[in-house]
């Protein structure tokens, strides 16, 4: 593999010596691997009419993991050297000194790839990227006199990983990732409001920037800010909520996604741990977590343990079918990994995580939903969310929403937090739309201090009852 990173090229340790240390360290363990990573990333930021930040990062390191029964020993370092690897090995052995296991060699194989082996940073020169950022700034500022601030940025990354398992088995992946974000602030009659929009995924910048289609990103950010400039205080209390398609699927991610991750269910700390096979959502609700969609932000050819990803059915027609698993939790729960083992980088241990979490289409229309609501809100755009997986309570913050009065969309309302209960909120879904849409590709999910890129998707849905955290009683 010519383009693959050779992690041992500049090191005082050869590949075969490293393989021997791995095999020796893991000989009495149940699982584990040496994970090597080299990430190159670039940030370009335009803000306040100027290029504020142009920076480049090169990050290299390894994480060495040994697992025996439930115990995980981990050690990481930036130095890929004989000394450093040996020190890590000693460290792992000392934690697992009195334990014994049988190494599990089984890793499924697949030839499928969900993105190209490219380095997006090198595909466009710095000058070209700066030129587009300046065009973005000029385009927006000439469009609306109320614009007081424009921020636009490019984030590009190429991450090369190699996983070396006991016996010398090696698995590799090269992952491109880019993101383009625009944020605007408007000021009118002393009132300030902002709007944010972005796009991204695992492909080259050109895909998002050709034919000046960056203009649609600008237009959307400006549209959201303009709507907010006219918004009035949001209502407070329980009411019906219609969610638009696409990015509002943060609801799915928070309400059920995290609660279906294997670690919380093995430890029985998730509100879902004893609900397998039971009805956890309304009929017609099917939710999958899919790592295999071409070029999506949450897609992975292999996960960070080397397992090929898949499309995992979590909830089928309202019934809980599967949890998302990494190798550790799958083994302890006597099931198989779903290719959901992920980590932010070599500094972190693997956890079961989401990839692209999607609610599939039903057969109703958004119109029917709006018409079915006497008093409620229609939420279109969101900033983010959070969940307490133990109590099941989750929130998400809308950044564009409207009131619904007597079946009609009314005035825009200020951003507000919506709160609900994971295991019961999906039972309150009374209509599922026929308009499923993927998000624009900008989501990052945080868990245990680790951020990983993810995607979400859903059709429009009507939820019978959620608490809206506005200020108007």
């Amino acid at each position: 593999m010519l383009s693959m990173n050779n992690f041992f090229e500049k090191s005082d340790i050869s590949r075969s010596e490293a393989e021997n240390i791995v095999s020796d360290t893991l000989s009495k363990c149940d699982d584990g691997e040496l994970y090597l990573e080299n990430t190159k990333s670039e940030t370009l930021l335009l803000d306040d009419n100027k290029i504020k930040n142009s920076s480049y990062n090169s990050d290299l390191g390894f994480g060495f993991r040994a697992i025996s029964d439930e115990i995980v020993a981990y050690s990481h370092s930036n130095e890929i050297s004989k000394n450093s690897l040996r020190q890590s090995s000693e460290n792992l052995k000392s934690t697992l000194k009195s334990v014994k296991g049988t190494y599990n060699h089984e890793i499924p194989k697949s030839n499928k790839k969900y993105y190209d082996n490219i380095n997006p940073i090198e595909q466009k020169s710095l000058n070209e990227k700066i030129k587009i950022l300046n065009e973005v700034n000029n385009y927006l500022r000439s469009k609306d006199n109320n614009i007081k601030q424009v921020t636009a940025n490019f984030l590009g990354e190429q991450k090369s990983v190699e996983i070396i398992r006991s016996g010398g088995e090696s698995l590799t992946d090269v992952r491109p990732l880019i993101r383009f974000n625009v944020s605007v602030m408007l000021e009118k009659n002393g009132r300030k409001e902002s709007g944010v929009y972005g796009v991204g995924g695992r492909q080259s910048y050109d895909f998002y920037l050709k034919d000046e289609n960056w203009k649609s990103v600008c237009d959307e950010a400006l549209r959201i800010a303009s709507v907010n400039l006219e918004s009035k205080p949001a209502p407070a209390g329980e009411m019906k909520v219609v969610l638009g398609p696409g990015w509002p699927a943060i609801l799915i991610h928070e309400a059920v996604g995290h609660g279906l991750e294997g670690d919380f269910n093995r430890k029985k700390t998730s509100a879902f741990h004893n609900l397998m096979g039971q009805k956890v959502a309304s009929e017609g609700v099917t939710i999958v977590d899919d790592g295999t969609i071409d070029n999506r932000r949450g897609s992975l050819t292999i996960d960070d343990e080397g397992t090929p990803t898949e499309k995992t059915v979590l909830i089928e027609n309202g019934i809980l079918k599967n949890f998302m698993q990494d190798r550790l939790n799958a083994r302890l729960m006597k099931t198989r990994s779903t290719g959901s083992g992920r980590r932010e980088n070599y500094r972190h241990i693997v956890l079961p995580r989401m990839r692209n979490t999607m609610m599939l289409s039903g057969n109703q229309t958004q119109d029917e939903m709006i018409k079915a609501v006497d008093k409620g809100i229609f939420a279109v755009s969101f900033g983010g969310g959070q969940v307490d997986i133990t109590s099941g309570k989750f929130v998400f913050n809308c950044t564009e929403a409207y009131e619904i009065v007597n079946g009609k969309i009314g005035s825009p309302i200020k951003g507000a937090t919506l709160i609900g209960d994971g295991p019961s909120s999906l039972k309150e879904v009374s209509m599922v739309g026929n308009d499923m849409m993927m998000d624009p590709g900008i989501g990052t999910c945080g868990k245990a201090g680790q951020g990983v890129p993810v995607g979400v998707a859903q059709p429009s849905i009507l939820i019978n009852k959620m608490t809206v955290g506005g200020t108007k009683l």
């Binding site: 803000d47 306040d48 100027k50 290029i51 142009s54 920076s55 480049y56 990062n57 090169s58 990050d59 290299l60 390191g61 439930e70 115990i71 995980v72 020993a73 981990y74 050690s75 990481h76 930036n78 130095e79 450093s84 460290n91 000392s94 934690t95 710095l126 700066i130 602030m185 000021e187 300030k192 409001e193 902002s194 949001a234 407070a236 209390g237 430890k267 700390t269 500094r347 241990i349 900033g383 959070q386 307490d388 133990t390 109590s391 309570k393 989750f394 929130v395 913050n397 200020k414 951003g415 507000a416 937090t417 919506l418 709160i419 809206v468 955290g469 506005g470 200020t471 108007k472 009683l473």
Partner: protein, 438 residues
């Protein structure tokens, strides 16, 4: 072992020299090393050990008013050569910005005071295990406790900051952190809570048994929560939540938010933004302080600032770039505040609880509901209903909302300030906020 000053200084001066050779007119560099060892327990048994050794370097080069930066974890000279060349090349291609510059020389820190931020004590993994055993034993007394996860981390760090104005300084810091997350269950509910202690010196760390017991008690009292109706009610923020409101205030007075015009506190210096009795300090020279430092990330000396005096905003938090833009001098706040706190109020915690016939005591908020452009605030919350000074029952699945501009004017503080984090607040009551529930 964390790398010594000599190693870091050598790398720093190599980078400054090379950048100059390649055409940079000015440059600055930070080299740091951090070694952490963590042991995690779960249900009274060893669950995970984690050792990390992180090296990092970040370099900013200037050519006149052009600027660019690089960072890397690979400190081999081969790699640094490639990166610095790339950085200087990128600098040439980046447009000028009249405000780009190193800090004014006369603002740089002249001395490095010993603030007792480094404890040489090494806590072996076996000692960490002993601490965690004691902690989890104390946390597991009640039958309602169904899961305990606890963690002990020792961190030792060292850094050097150097620039072409001749600044070159750095020092070691340490931290010892213990935490415990507890899950409790009864017929109706399952709840989670936590307790935490972090200190520069190991001997100052909370007693393991006390910490475990506190985490367990705080979790059990949350069981069988109720949802209440929507109403306007006085909110009392537990200290661990009140500090978050202070942090939001700090981001709203950062010179970057002010110079960009994206803060609800823009142009509010010398105006009354809090209720009369409120004082806010940022004090960088607290001995063993978790936020203590001698200078900021640009090398500018950091003096104590009385940010708010009797409710009146006195200073922004200023760095070099945004300071030049605002025509103000840096006050050494690149990277934010140091030890930030509200001064004590003048009533006791008990009197604060008693001051209203009915109030909500908030122990946790979720969601990112603070908007510093508009000042709007809306978050999910859990806590307790307080009636006549007594905790009546736990509450969840509600939101609390308001606007900071009004909230700040209606703050009453208790006199129970302690220095548990880098940012600290006494227990805080805010009147006039809206709760959304049933």
């Amino acid at each position: 072992m964390v790398k010594d000053q000599e190693f870091l200084e050598k790398k720093a001066s190599y980078c400054l020299g090379l950048a100059k050779k390649l055409g940079a007119t000015e440059s600055s560099v930070i080299v740091n090393n951090s070694v952490s060892e963590t042991v995690n327990f779960r249900n009274k048994k060893l669950d995970e050990s984690n050792r990390s050794d992180d090296l990092g370097i970040s370099i900013t080069t200037y050519i006149g008013k052009k600027k660019s930066s690089i960072s890397s974890s690979n400190l081999l000279d081969d790699n640094l050569n490639i990166l610095i060349e790339k950085c200087v090349e990128a600098t040439k291609n980046t447009p000028e910005d009249e405000f780009n510059s190193l800090p004014d020389k006369d603002l740089l820190a002249k001395e490095v005071k010993d603030l007792s931020l480094y404890d040489d004590t090494h806590i072996e993994n076996d000692q960490k295990i002993d601490y965690l055993k004691k902690l989890e034993l104390a946390a597991s007394n009640d039958k309602k406790i169904v899961n305990t996860e606890s963690s002990f981390t020792q961190n030792k760090s060292n850094f050097i900051l150097a620039n072409t104005e001749g600044f070159c300084a750095g020092y070691k810091t340490s931290s010892f952190t213990a935490s415990s997350v507890i899950v409790a269950k009864d017929e109706k509910s399952m709840e989670r809570d936590y307790e935490y202690s972090s200190k520069c010196f190991f001997k100052d760390l909370d007693d393991a048994g006390e910490l475990g017991k506190q985490a367990a008690d705080q979790t059990i009292r949350k069981l069988s929560p109720k949802k209440i109706g929507s109403e306007k009610i006085a909110i009392i923020f537990d200290k661990r939540i009140a500090k978050g409101i202070l942090n939001t205030f700090a981001s709203a007075i950062s010179s970057s938010a002010i110079s960009r015009g994206t803060s609800f506190l823009k142009d509010k210096v010398n105006q009354k933004i809090f209720s009369d009795s409120i004082n806010v300090l940022d004090k960088p020279d607290i001995i063993k302080g978790l936020g203590s430092r001698n200078f900021d990330k640009e090398g500018v000396k950091t003096d104590t600032l009385k940010l708010v005096e009797q409710g009146v905003l006195k200073h922004y938090l200023i760095d070099t770039y945004n300071g030049k833009k605002l025509n103000l001098k840096s006050n050494g706040r690149f990277g934010g505040t140091s030890n930030l706190y509200f001064e004590n109020g003048n009533i006791s915690f008990k009197d604060l609880l008693n001051s209203k016939s009915k109030s909500l005591y908030i122990t946790e908020t979720i969601g990112h509901g603070s908007n510093i452009v508009t000042g709007d605030y809306s978050v999910g919350a859990t806590g307790f209903l307080v009636e006549n000074g007594e905790f009546k029952y736990p509450i969840n699945e509600i939101t609390i909302a308001g606007n900071f501009k009004d909230m700040f004017q209606h703050i009453t503080l208790a006199n129970d300030l302690e220095f548990k984090y880098a940012t600290n607040s006494p227990t805080m009551m805010i009147e006039g906020m809206v709760v959304a529930g049933k």
